[in-house]
Symmetry: C2
Subunit: 379 residues, 2 copies
């Protein structure tokens, strides 16, 4: 029996600090060629392959999608001047940009994962939530496009569907991947200089998983309001989580994250300001779902909350705005929520808001990675 | 005697592949706290400290610099319509942006290095070239500002000054840091699946070092033509080189690179499109000098050429344009050199050119890092 957690407990087994933090190092090509030893070269090759495959597939898919969507006029419908005042002028030029670019992200990352990942329980779970949340987002986008309004699916129905997906995830893991099921019940709580594994009873674990998944999916969704903003922040967060997955020897979780990073890089090529395509809810919910599931299975939901700090800030700005408005009977904290619209209405040009939030996102990702070694050996 | 290269030969000594590629791991906090063992925590703390110090100092310096430079109207002087035609219209809004922001980058990175680096020969050499090249750039910027033209110092004089700095570097290393001196003579040539150390005789090594340093400094300088472009690409290149320096256990070289990354992050906050300050030649030459010196001392000039692929492409576009023009007696390959102006005149908006070149730069940095393990154990 290799430790309590199979793939997750690798840190408990090996004695030297090097292989403890970077267990995958033993698979590096180093040595196998120059010294005649035989170590499987697979992980680094798999990662590079998944990244390149996702990049190329998503790139090709976007090139096909853009003219297809344009011809059908499947565009984001923007809120009018009577509803969002100045913002309507600032974003007038975006009215004819096609949406649902998330389809290309999904296609590239999903196929690359199928091709390059050792598909076991955890990888299948990540892929399933990625697909389910993407499908929920697709329904939402379709509702917006065909009703020609900016409303889409009712928020409550969307949360209900997400809840059903989380429930399905729970049962799937219970039946097919005991390690993953246990991981959901023992997330790590990072404290200064240490990390404590929480022990959540069944129902609490379910509620907590729902909170993490719905939070990350809707956090990415809320962040998706400026050209390139959500894609850039997701790219940085996925990269940080992928590094953790490698350190934890969880290749099944690392590969979808690396594939997502490749897809997002291709997507950003066309989503950079001025955007030629938007990801839509298809993209943002799928990305958030993938990041959330990966973090839960790595037992690192709090790591995700730090690395994806921008998503947290954007969500908090919306919650604060809504509840303060209700509480005071009509007063606002922000000029407009989410945060990026507040900054934009404060006079920052759109590109400046985007680049600065990217920089903050990079800082959040670096901070999370700098805090990681403090836990690698404690638990 | 610890190996042939002191700091550089760490890979030859230790037997396990983990500590071979990541020798600094033994300094990670891991273990020291939870198991009562005593390992110095310094390197990760030094790196985080240098990054944060450089970030904060540069940020504060830029906030002071912008109003100071604006009051004195020390601005970039742009070429007129008779010289660059359409580009003058595209960039008209940049005319009142202050330049010499490189001063803030220099200040932050240099002070952070002095504070956090174990200042031995290699670190002093990196810092000296950083300062010398920054001073050359400052003269150039001052010549432009005070003569109110876009010419600045004659190209030949600038190269001469750079050559003198390289000569001084050579003598300093010979006298004060034998490891660094040898490193200049034995750069690693990466080949598929292996890496061969070249053995350059004295004069060739001097010429090669000059080529690398002048190439990287002037490459960054040529890239510095769009808001955020040079700073973003330099940030990614510095991060990749810093990772290599950590893997090679060269803390004296890693710290200035990490500090530079922190300074550039702060600088990008104000340099993001639409830019509120430019780095000027002060910044671009200093950054290029630091990257070049670090790569030479790590024996990895070819790694720099891959990770900093954008700088290479921009330089090549200029050389091709100039020599093709001379050779054919007046025909051009590009609409305008360097590359980013060619893309801009081809109809890409400025922000799209910048973001796409950033993405390419990230791909170059990742490719270089993916190729690195193939050499870590061979030589």
């Amino acid at each position: 029996m290799p430790g309590r957690f199979g793939g997750w407990g690798a840190a408990e087994r090996s004695p030297s600090p090097g292989s403890e933090i970077f267990p995958l190092l033993r698979f590096f090509p180093c040595g196998s060629i120059f010294r005649g030893q035989h170590r499987p070269v697979l992980p680094i090759v798999r990662a590079a392959g998944a990244f390149a495959t996702a990049l190329v597939l998503s790139f090709a898919a976007i090139r096909v999608l853009i003219p297809f969507l344009r011809r059908r006029k499947w565009q984001q419908v923007f809120r009018g001047k009577e509803e969002v005042r100045d913002l309507a002028d600032l974003h007038a030029s975006k009215a004819h940009t096609p949406t649902m670019g998330g389809l290309a992200i999904w296609l590239g990352a999903a196929l690359a994962t199928l091709l390059w990942s050792p598909l076991r329980g955890d990888g299948i779970a990540v892929l399933a939530i990625f697909t389910a949340f993407g499908a929920i987002g697709l329904c939402d986008d379709a509702a917006k496009v065909f009703s020609r309004s900016s409303r889409g699916m009712a928020g409550r129905r969307r949360l209900l569907l997400q809840g059903m997906a989380v429930l399905a995830l729970f049962f799937f893991l219970r039946l097919a991947a005991a390690d993953g099921y246990r991981a959901l019940h023992e997330p790590l709580l990072p404290l200064p200089f240490a990390s404590i594994p929480l022990h959540l009873p069944g129902a609490v674990a379910l509620a907590f998983s729902f909170l993490v998944l719905a939070g990350s999916a809707n956090g990415v969704n809320l962040t998706d309001g400026l050209d390139g903003l959500a894609a850039g922040c997701s790219l940085l967060t996925a990269a940080a989580l992928a590094a953790i997955a490698f350190f934890e020897n969880s290749l099944g979780i690392a590969i979808p994250l690396v594939a997502l990073a490749g897809s997002l890089l291709a997507f950003l090529w066309y989503n950079a300001n001025p955007a030629q395509i938007f990801m839509g809810d298809t993209g943002s919910l799928a990305i958030g779902g993938l990041l959330g599931t990966a973090a839960l299975l790595l037992r690192q939901p709090f790591f995700l909350a730090i690395a994806g700090g921008i998503f947290v800030l954007e969500t908090l700005s919306v919650l604060l705005q809504v509840y303060y408005f209700k509480w005071t009977g009509g007063r606002r904290i922000f000029r407009m929520a989410p945060l990026h619209h507040h900054l934009e209405l404060g006079g920052w040009p759109e590109t400046r808001v985007t680049t600065r939030l990217w920089l903050l996102s990079a800082l959040f990702a670096l901070s999370a990675l700098a805090l990681y070694p403090w836990r690698a050996c404690g638990v």
